[in-house]
């Protein structure tokens, strides 16, 4: 039941005959997990908190940076260096004390993905990394949860409601129905390509609209349709996306493969080498990339070309290494998928490895 204060607070949307007090009650009972508290996330959280969604969870392992303030309107100058989720919770609490705001520590990760998704009715993908987008898709599809997707590139955006059930319980298209394969590090994010202030707020508001629409059942919204938007020429386009018959199978496979790929820190790699020397270390970078890495802790490092020629290696679990840990992770996922076996990826890549070694040598001096 809505209190008198709630009836007054939400009077303008209760006044819409399609919503009424019953609709507002549905929002109060609803729960949403917002993944990413960046440009999209800040806007989604503010809108959902204002509209009276009962329980809102958020996860983002980052701290506020000065360069966030241009578009992430939950944060101010005094928040730089603080945890994004903590600041967001404070601001949102002040905005609407009736909403239950839940913080989840760390980042959205294969280890916590399914546990977190299971706790909520609906998920919002407000992340800024392509691998996290696939993880959100796979966790939501496996657990039969709908999710509101949005992503940005320079002045353009894509938005969709994925994996939403229709009246018969059949689910709509998923992110993998649109882009089946992970495209790896080639896709640039806002940090790399840049983003003009208003776009994330506009698109975050559309995501919030999809959330309200989903719970209120006002229309099918963006279920099975991809919305394309251009901030400069105001072109809106809708593209019909059908669900692929293998959508669920792909999601399950994605989750399974992620469990088979283990990320190692440089320290963990040293410990592994101390236990089981020699190990199969593979540098997946192009041969001309520097700094060179031909051996590590006395263990030979093979080039990708040598590794691919060597059929004798297939019984071992390789450790993939690249410059920053992105390509090696992609290679590990692909290898693990082909061989159905566990393998490893060096977190932070050669750059982190060299940085660690430099720090260690300074300590020794």
């Amino acid at each position: 039941m809505l209190t008198n204060q709630e009836l007054e607070r939400y009077a303008r949307q209760i006044a819409l005959s399609e919503i009424g007090a019953a609709g507002q009650q549905r929002l109060k009972q609803a729960s949403v997990l917002v993944i990413g508290v960046g440009g999209l996330g800040c806007q989604v959280l503010q809108q959902l908190t204002a509209a009276g969604v009962g329980r809102i969870g958020m996860i983002d392992g980052d701290r506020v940076e000065l360069s966030n303030l241009q578009r992430q309107c939950l944060f101010g100058e005094g928040d730089v260096g603080r945890k994004k989720t903590e600041v967001a919770q404070e601001r949102l609490k002040a905005q609407n004390s009736q909403v239950q705001l839940e913080i989840h520590e760390g980042s959205f990760h294969p280890k916590n993905a399914e546990t977190l998704v299971a706790k909520y009715d609906l998920v919002v993908d407000a992340s800024d990394r392509i691998d996290v987008r696939y993880l959100i898709n796979d966790a939501c599809v496996c657990l039969e949860k709908a999710f509101v997707y949005a992503s940005l590139y320079a002045y353009e955006a894509q938005v969709a409601l994925f994996n939403a059930p229709d009246d018969l319980g059949n689910r709509s298209a998923t992110y993998r129905c649109l882009f089946p394969e992970e495209s790896g590090s080639k896709v640039q994010n806002c940090q790399e390509r840049g983003v003009l202030a208003v776009l994330p707020a506009l698109i975050g508001a559309i995501q919030a609209n999809e959330v309200l629409n989903y719970f209120l059942g006002l229309s099918e919204g963006l279920s099975g349709r991809l919305l394309l938007f251009n901030q400069l020429n105001y072109h809106f386009q809708l593209i019909e996306v059908n669900r692929h018959e293998k959508a669920k199978e792909w999601a399950k496979q994605g989750m399974r493969i992620r469990q088979q790929v283990i990320e190692l820190s440089p320290e963990e790699l040293r410990e592994k080498l101390a236990r089981e020397f020699p190990c199969l270390l593979v540098d997946v970078r192009d041969p001309d990339e520097s700094p060179e890495l031909t051996s590590f802790a006395g263990n030979e490092v093979l080039s990708k070309a040598v590794f691919e020629k060597g059929t004798a290696f297939t019984s071992e679990s390789p450790v993939f290494i690249c410059q920053t840990g992105v390509r090696s992770q992609k290679e590990a996922l692909s290898w693990s998928s082909r061989n159905n076996k566990t393998c490893y990826s060096l977190r932070g890549g050669v750059l982190k490895l060299k940085e660690d070694e430099r720090q260690k040598s300074q300590i020794h001096i």
Binding site: D125, R129, L152, F179, C190, L228, I239, E240
Partner: protein, 90 residues
């Protein structure tokens, strides 16, 4: 394979409209161009890859007349083809 004349749009229905999104618009240095039909979607892709070789390295989907394509579509004048890459930012 017939040679296509790629030209800038003037909104006529006698041509196939090709739209590029995101980094594909940057790669081709245009958000829109027109080609003459009829031709197969696979032929259009081949021709575009010849004109913009880096397109081969990119991940994208194609929509024909606002529906995600299967790849086997026959394109006729008046059709609209959209090249959609994945975006990461948020």
């Amino acid at each position: 394979m017939k040679s296509l004349s790629i030209g800038f749009p003037n909104n006529n229905m006698d041509r196939i409209k090709v739209l590029f999104f995101g980094e594909l618009a940057e790669l081709t240095a245009t958000s829109q161009l027109e080609v003459s039909g009829p031709l197969l979607l696979s032929e259009l892709r081949e021709e575009l890859e010849r004109n913009y070789p880096t397109l081969k390295d990119r991940v994208f989907q194609v929509a024909v007349n606002k529906r995600l394509a299967t790849g086997k579509e026959q394109l006729n004048n008046g059709d609209e083809v959209a090249f959609l890459p994945p975006f990461a930012g948020g």
